[in-house]
Amino acid sequence: MKRQVSIAIMAALAFGASLAAGNAQAERLIVSVSNHRVTVTPNYVGEELVLFGSVERDEKTPSNMPNYDLVVTIKGPGADMVTRRKERKFGIWVNVDSRQFLKVPAYLAVFANRPIEEIASADTQRRLQLGLKNIILTQRVGTDYADVVSTDLFRSAFVRLRMEHSLYREATNAVTFLTPTLFRTGIPLPAEVPIGSYDVEIELIANGVLVTKAETAFEIVKVGFEQFVATNAQQNGLVYGLVTAMMALITGWLASVIFRRD
């Protein structure tokens, strides 16, 4: 009975804390990423950002320090994707079925200090969207928009394929505590990292309840010639096409001049 009451109080505290994160009455999370603006150049091969932070405590924080758990969720820019399934028809493999995933993160990473099942109950995991299994990935099913159970074949195939390209990842040993309150985690970015703004959400959990959370962000921009090309291909299709065609003609003409034999 007493235990239940104390959990209830802690939950209430945690609720208050999450509403007024940074209030003096509880823990505060201070976080920063090593680079807020990542530039991708044509020979970019991927890199790793570092997120570090500390759990700030003051006099009003209960003196008996619990074991803190951290879940870091990084969401890249949203994108609409379609997942297709092949089946054997008349002896060849044909796309037969497809599902649309709407406004899902093009990059998604979840890092924690220990397995998420040990950090929070299944209910809390779902409510806080902790882990790839619990993050909502909206699908269009007929005319409805909804996420489906995490064991759905299309959803798991989607997550698996994104993971194969290192665009989705989950590592439950990636967050390390340097001291009981100081932590760090790496954020690996693959070579084909999507450009756009990335939101980082850090949830501090103690004894299975949310204590507080913090947010930060970073941006990935492509610079240089190749970005110039990509932007123009999208925005000025006609000019781009004409320039490419001209380029082809000039190359062909140059070749005929250089290698002329008659």
């Binding site: 820019p77 949203g78 493999w93 994104r162 190749e226 781009y240 004409l242 062909g252």
Partner: protein, 308 residues
């Protein structure tokens, strides 16, 4: 050197792409063809998506056919009237091809159609060429002389109305089959990313009886215009032309073509046809195998929008 392709959206080794351009250029110089039917599959096999491969290769073919067409123009080996008639169909066919390309892409069946078209077209043409080359060699071994069958020269094609005189080619022919041929080549080219010379030249020689003196140059002129048009239309509608990829391929292609042309002069005609047939056939078979064996993963993902 690693290079990131802006439209294909993958990192590639620049020298690998350059080498591919040169190898295909060598083959195209050797056989007097554009080489799109080799280059598009090669790009697909290194990981470029079929749609980007088809769209980008069209600009590569434009470059190689332009340098070829210039040389033929100087030698007065292009029939302008014949080229114009073929083009009237070719332009229409290209526009229709790009439209179908866009439609199939939105239905998610583009990759399949590209692969299937390659299987059917390349296996048929490659098989026929190989067989024909083999027979020619056998006849030559037996010491027989080949007499071109001229008896069928005035078949039904030559009975069609709307006849026109093509002075430089010295033929008198209906425009209907010519426009239809242009239409088909333009259409196939836009959907499959090929210039279509390996189809067009046999049709012009064997069916239309266009003399060999003007056939290659005229075919190149048609290829040039349809591929320039395909490049522009693919860029406008699908935004899939990768200019960086295309430039590397072009540079490799025009260099390779010079060496290929020299090598081609040292090989006898029937051997050349046999080799080309074998090459075309093997690309077709490669696509067929890809379709028949179970894919590593039955699921695929494609981004369709920015999610805004």
């Amino acid at each position: 050197m690693q290079l990131f392709l802006p439209i294909a959206d993958i990192p590639v080794n620049m020298f690998l792409i350059l080498a591919m351009g040169m190898a295909v250029g060598f083959v195209s110089g050797m056989f007097g063809i554009g080489g799109g039917f080799l280059l598009t599959p090669l790009l697909i096999f290194v990981g470029v998506s079929p749609a980007v491969a088809v769209a980008s290769v069209s600009s590569h073919i434009a470059a190689s056919s332009f340098s070829g067409a210039l040389a033929y123009w100087r030698r007065r080996a292009i029939d302008p009237a014949l080229a114009l008639v073929l083009l009237s169909g070719g332009v229409l066919g290209t526009a229709f091809g790009v439209w179908l390309f866009t439609l199939l892409r939105s239905l998610g069946q583009l990759d399949l159609i590209i692969a299937l078209s390659y299987v059917v077209l390349l296996s048929t043409v490659g098989g026929l060429m190989f067989w024909e080359g083999l027979n020619a060699i056998r006849r030559a071994r037996r010491g027989e002389t080949i007499t071109m069958r001229r008896t069928g020269a005035h078949g039904w094609i030559h009975g069609l109305p709307l006849k026109m005189r093509f002075k430089r080619s010295k033929i008198y022919l209906s425009v209907i089959p010519l426009v239809a041929t242009g239409l088909m080549i333009g259409f196939i080219g836009a959907v499959m990313g090929i210039g279509g010379a390996f189809l067009l030249i046999p049709i012009l020689i064997y069916v239309m009886r266009v003399p060999t003196s003007t056939v290659i140059g005229t075919a190149m002129a048609l290829t040039l215009v349809t591929m320039v048009l395909a490049t522009i239309l693919h860029a406008v509608t699908n935004h899939l032309v990768d200019a960086v990829l295309a430039l590397i391929l072009m540079v490799g292609g025009v260099i390779g073509a010079q060496f290929g042309a020299r090598a081609g002069q040292r090989i006898r005609g029937e051997h050349l046809r046999l080799l080309l047939g074998l090459l075309i056939l093997s690309v077709g078979i490669r696509f067929a195998v890809e379709l028949i064996i179970k894919p590593d993963d039955v699921y695929t993902i494609r981004q369709i929008g920015d999610g805004v």
